[in-house]
């Protein structure tokens, strides 16, 4: 932190000259990259539509209100489906994630050279594909419906839960395992009495967290045909029935708030 001497007083600056130059260079490069990228985007944009969007938005809002409140009752089944997709999907995902996590954790994996990279690969590929894309694939295979949604959510959850779980397994206390080992326990007993109790809290909080995320994701897998409230949303947008769309959006917000409230409750009860 250099002090600069002026003629009759001293001032203080945060950085010296070199650091200042570096900072400016970074800003300059950042601005350059940003403008370059934005230029490319804007070359593919029809600006007339963008500048007209506020009129379009007002028009849309006018069509959305007043919402068709009666329509809400037909939504009960899709909401129930959405809930099921999230819950069953989460259960399937976590159940498959458990063995994968044990295979990919450094301290529990049976073979570091072969099985661990394979399990890690499964986790990463499940994580990098969004549940909507999974749903898109599965709708082509098992046909549109709730089942595709459940499998899609399940497949997406494997990676998330697997990653967090194997990190939790790697952080367990080795002393406790040694203590169990000292009693002459076999491998399975070490697992159930040494490792499982240590990761159980992490496991529950991960599954609850994923369930919360999955409620949100289950609302959109329907957009590609995989069941739940998304199917309704897609259909009503296709029909341009905006007064119904606003009801669906309201239902989605309610579902999301509800899931957040419930997860907060459960977390408090457990911890």
């Amino acid at each position: 932190m250099p002090i600069i001497k002026q003629k009759d007083y001293k001032t203080w600056k945060k950085f010296d000259r070199k650091r200042d130059l570096q900072n400016w260079l970074c800003w300059f490069l950042g601005t350059l990259i940003f403008s370059f990228c934005f230029g490319l985007i804007s070359s593919k944009t029809i600006w007339f539509y963008v500048f007209d969007s506020h009129n379009e938005a007002l028009d849309l809002l006018g069509r959305m209100f007043p919402p068709e409140t009666n329509y809400f009752f037909t939504l009960i089944k899709p909401i129930w489906d959405t809930l099921n997709i999230a819950t069953i999907g989460t259960s399937i995902g976590t159940l498959i994630a458990i063995p994968l996590a044990f295979l990919s954790a450094n301290n529990t994996t049976p073979s570091k050279k072969f099985l661990r990279p394979l399990a890690l690969f499964c986790i990463v590929s499940s994580r990098s594909i969004n549940s909507v894309i999974w749903a898109l694939l599965l709708v082509a295979v098992v046909g549109p419906g709730v089942l595709a949604g459940i499998i899609a959510i399940g497949l997406r959850s494997i990676g998330f839960c697997g990653k967090l779980l194997y990190e939790a397994i790697e952080e367990i206390d080795e002393n406790q395992i040694e203590a169990i080992e000292a009693t002459g326990a076999n491998k399975a007993q070490i697992m159930t009495f040494g490792i499982v109790p240590q990761i159980l809290p992490a496991f529950t909080s991960i599954s609850i967290y994923r369930w919360d995320i999955n409620i949100r994701e289950a609302t959109v897998v329907g957009l590609v045909g995989a069941g739940g409230i998304g199917i309704e949303l897609d259909a009503q947008i296709g029909d341009l029935a905006w007064a119904k769309v606003s009801v669906i959006l309201f239902a989605i917000v309610v579902a999301v708030v509800f899931s957040e409230w419930i997860t907060a409750k459960i977390r408090k009860a457990i911890i």
Binding site: K14, G30, I33, F34, C37, F38, L40, I41, S42, K44, T45, I46, Y49, V50, S53, E56, A57, L60, K77, W80, D81, N84, T87, I88, V124, S125, R127, S128, I129, N130, V132, I133, L136, L137, A140, V141, V142, G143, G145, V146, L147, F193, R216, E217, T219, V220, L223, V224, L233, I237, L249, I252, V253, V256, V257
Partner: protein, 265 residues
């Protein structure tokens, strides 16, 4: 004398027996009702299995070549979208996160900013994208706006939590020198949250790229549109290639961003 064995049993997870049985009953009724209300078309699934096989075989080998122009264009569009959206989103989230920190903002602004965050968090990117595509036309601009808006909810929420956790005495020391509000934020608050700020930006860059793949499906441009087109044309080999490209780029981005985050820490 009888041989008495002392047996140790593990404590049950839930102590109250009634609660335990109740929970099991509740879960089984739930599963049963799910099973009864969900229609599964087994006929359709049987029909789908050969199609699934075709799709899986499309990965061996995937077809990068036929549509290589479209794949490349899609990836680059996704990248531009991600970069611009992350920067715009972060720039907007800075004032929002200052406003959403309890220790900095007055009550009125606090509730306003929290409202903005909740609003942006309550809808999935895909739903937002549908509306922005409707409002602004097809193409990457709508996708960019969507990603920027959803960045605000994520970024401002986490950053404001970090701002709330800052060391008060450091900030007060700056205040006691007679600094203005901006100087106070710049010298008292900003250095304390900077590591988290950089970490979060990298993390969000990673998320935005992943999301950009989905937004394309509803018309928001990027690699998602390429994927969707491939599906619509039943070109599963190309679709497989696009998926592989997405997975590998996500892996690269994730690896670099986590590596950079470790470096910064």
């Amino acid at each position: 004398m009888k041989d008495k064995k002392v047996i140790w049993k593990r404590k049950p997870l839930i102590k109250n027996r009634l609660l335990r049985i109740g929970l099991i009953l509740l879960i089984s009724t739930y599963l049963l009702s799910v099973f009864l209300t969900t229609e599964i078309d087994w006929q359709r699934i049987l029909e789908g299995i050969p199609r699934g096989k075709i799709f899986i075989f499309a990965f061996f080998p995937p077809d990068f070549i036929t549509r290589s122009d479209e794949i490349l264009a899609g990836i680059f569009e996704s990248l531009w979208m991600t970069i611009v959206a992350t920067i715009v989103g972060i720039l907007i989230s800075i004032p929002v996160s200052l406003g959403a920190a309890k220790n900095i903002a007055p009550k009125f602004i606090y509730f306003l900013s929290r409202g903005v965050i909740t609003l942006s968090r309550s809808f999935q990117e895909v739903i937002l994208a549908i509306f922005f595509v409707k409002l602004m036309g097809f193409g990457p601009f709508a996708g960019m706006v969507t990603l920027s808006l959803s960045t605000i909810g994520f970024f401002a929420k986490l950053l404001s939590e970090d701002i709330e956790d800052i060391n008060k005495s450091q900030a007060e020391a700056i205040k006691s020198t007679g600094s203005s509000w901006f100087q106070w934020v710049n010298y008292g608050v900003q250095p304390q949250v900077m590591p988290r700020f950089i970490g979060l930006s990298l993390y969000r860059l990673d998320i935005n790229f992943r999301e950009s793949a989905v937004i394309g499906i509803v018309g928001g441009g990027g690699i998602g549109s390429t994927l969707n087109t491939a599906f619509d044309r039943y070109e599963f080999e190309t679709a497989a290639a696009v998926l592989i490209v997405i997975i590998s780029i996500v892996m690269i981005v994730e690896y670099t961003s986590s590596h950079l985050r470790k470096l910064i820490k």
